[in-house]
């Protein structure tokens, strides 16, 4: 029997369809660019959620993985013009390995210790970016990277297809036994161990997968902007956390929606200049206090609840 689609799923699918149709219906290149960047943010947020939302380990240095993908691309591009079909697999492998390498020693750590360790990794990388300016371009960053594709519309489709595939894979991982195991580890590490789960393996693997998607998205953003620099990589650590918390943790899709919505919002707030960041961090604080489960998780629940609401049950009875 085919499973009936729930209303939130339907809405998400409808939204995705609209994005696919958007360049056909409109030739607003500005909005197309905004959407493409927002889609990259959605992937960043979804990949953060797989590690931190599922296992409850707050990664304060997600930018480190994005930086691995982006700077690998920037570095190679200085020597020869690397195309996306080559750079994406390299980024995937490299950032996966980097994720495992960081994950192995740090995942024994809990709460604040883990937060500091990841913050330290990202901060060390940021400082190294500035001091090793021969390789990284320092504050100016690296230019001259091959564009994703020839024109803006096809670049948008490239990013869109990548984002849909990546988020879908992450979502399936989250729904699979693997994701459920991660949630079990979050609720009680010792109990999970007692059930015979090698919790460390699962956590390290989650770290690797999370890093891999972040690294690939980092590479694609490098291709998209044709530029890699500290200003577009390192502030991401915090922004991603904001997006995931506002969207909702532990379900991939709410976090991805949070990434997309807030990225779009911050673009719309650009006219406010310096107010932009202020509003942004203000939203974060208010969300944590008033809607700690996340905006999109709560919207999803509203639909669920209405399915069982008495009015609807009665109306179903009447139909019979």
């Amino acid at each position: 029997m085919k499973k009936k689609l729930s209303i939130p799923t339907l809405l998400v699918l409808l939204g995705t369809l609209m994005l696919f149709l958007f360049p056909v219906l409109s030739d607003d290149l500005y909005l197309i660019t905004v959407f493409a960047i927002a889609l990259l943010y959605a992937v960043y947020a979804a990949s953060w959620d797989l590690l931190s939302g599922f296992t409850g380990k707050e990664n304060f240095g997600h930018a480190a993985f994005i930086a691995i993908g982006a700077y690998m691309l920037g570095f190679i591009s200085q020597h020869f013009a690397i195309q996306p079909y080559l750079s994406i697999p390299i980024a995937a492998v490299l950032s996966f390995i980097f994720g495992i390498l960081i994950g192995l020693p740090t995942l024994r750590l809990k709460g604040p210790y883990f937060a500091l360790a990841t913050l330290a990794v990202a901060t060390i990388m940021e400082r190294l970016t500035y001091s090793l300016s021969d390789i990284t371009g320092g504050e100016d960053g690296l230019y001259g990277i091959e564009f994703l594709t020839g024109d803006e519309t096809s670049s948008f489709y490239f990013v869109l297809i990548f984002a849909v595939v990546a988020i879908y894979i992450l979502y399936r991982i989250g729904k699979s036994n693997f994701g459920l195991t991660l949630k079990a580890i979050k609720s009680d590490d010792d109990a999970a161990k007692a059930l015979g789960i090698y919790t460390d393996r699962f956590k390290v693997l989650a770290f690797g997968i999370s890093a891999m998607f972040a690294g690939i998205a980092g590479t694609i953003s490098g291709h998209y902007y044709s530029y890699v620099g500290p200003d577009i990589v390192f502030p991401l650590s915090l922004n991603i956390i904001i997006m995931c918390v506002v969207g909702g943790l532990g379900g991939i899709i709410p976090a991805a929606l949070g990434g997309f919505a807030l990225s779009y919002l911050s673009e719309m707030l650009r006219d406010f200049g310096e107010w932009n960041q202020l509003i942004y961090s203000g939203i974060l604080m208010l969300t944590v206090i008033f809607l700690p489960r996340g905006v999109f998780n709560i919207i999803g629940d509203l639909f669920k609840r209405s399915k069982d609401s008495p009015v609807e049950m009665i109306s179903k009875e009447v139909e019979k």
Binding site: S52, G56, E58, F60, P105, T106, R108, L109, K110, G111, P112, Y113, A115, L116, A117, L119, A120, V121, T123, I124, R127, L128, Y130, S131, L238, I241, I242, V245, L249, E274, W275, Q277, L278, S281, G282, L284, M285, V288, I289, P292
Partner: protein
């Protein structure tokens, strides 16, 4: 640079830097030890105190008085932060929300100050004009003043916690919140008092360094990272461990900036702590095992 001169410079500057770090780390450790909250807003207290002193003193209030007002305001801010949002979030039990809320709050403060004051650097006049010569090294008065104030503050706070009745209540709460409530201690009040003391310690550090380091909207972040690193290095919640760790890291940092480059001090700092976290996550003197 001769070895003796290097050692002398290391000893003097290292001790001054370390004492400031100890002051900041002590407050951070206190909040964690007593309330179990990792307050990433701690660096912002340091920054807010410096800005308030600058604003008041440039408005014509005498420097000493403006520093005192600034510190009182920061104490109040610390207490209010703890009383409303932090205790509310703590009751919900998810540490991630506390970390995110306090970090978000710190960024909020940064952007707010940047909007009001711009990205410019400010500084306030020194509290002590005359410089002091120790050996062949001439140390500016403001740095000597910073050292003296921080040592006195640390001693006073340690005595306050060890000897007074409020201090004993703080210790009792840090050992067991539930048991402390059973013997009639208003633990929520103790949390608020502790947060105010923590904010005061960070604020004092912010005020005494601002004559010789610049005041800017981003000054909180590296301070926070250093305090966080020191406290974890020393063992979360252990006050003595934080002070020892602050001195180790202060000397290390000064050594690197004297012999190599000052831009890499933070990296060295974090690498040491990162390695330490991997091999001994409970820190130098932490009792809690992970």
């Amino acid at each position: 640079m001769g070895v003796i001169l290097l050692l002398q410079s290391l000893l003097i500057n290292g001790t001054i830097n370390s004492s400031i770090y100890a002051l900041i780390a002590l407050g951070f450790s206190l909040t964690f030890g007593v309330a179990g909250i990792v307050n990433l807003y701690h660096g912002a207290y340091y920054m807010v105190a410096a800005y308030l002193t600058y604003v008041l003193s440039s408005a014509g209030v005498p420097l000493w008085l403006s520093a005192v007002f600034a510190l009182l305001l920061v104490m109040g801010l610390g207490g209010v932060m703890m009383k409303y949002p932090l205790l509310y979030l703590k009751k919900k039990g998810e540490s991630i929300y506390l970390l995110i809320f306090t970090l978000g709050g710190a960024y909020f403060t940064q952007y707010l100050l940047k909007m009001i004051f711009g990205a410019r650097f400010y500084s306030i006049p020194p509290f002590m004009d005359n410089s002091v010569s120790i050996g062949s090294e001439i140390v500016p008065g403001s740095r000597v003043f910073a050292f003296i104030v921080s040592v006195i503050t640390i001693v006073v706070v340690m005595l306050f916690i060890g000897k007074t009745s409020i201090g004993k209540k703080i210790t009792a709460t840090s050992q067991d919140v539930y048991a402390a409530e059973l013997v009639g201690i208003n633990t929520n009040l103790i949390f608020v008092v502790t947060a105010a003391i923590s904010a005061l310690l960070a604020g004092i550090a912010g005020v005494v360094i601002s004559p010789y380091l610049s005041i800017s909207p981003t000054m909180w972040l590296s301070t926070l990272i250093k305090a966080f690193a020191i406290v974890i290095f020393g063992g979360l919640g252990s006050l003595g461990g934080s002070i020892i760790a602050a001195f180790i890291m202060g000397y290390l940092e000064t050594f690197i900036s004297l012999t190599w480059t000052s831009s890499m001090t933070e990296v060295a700092f974090l690498v040491v702590v990162f390695i330490f976290l991997i091999f001994k996550p409970s820190g130098l003197m932490g009792k809690k095992t992970l």
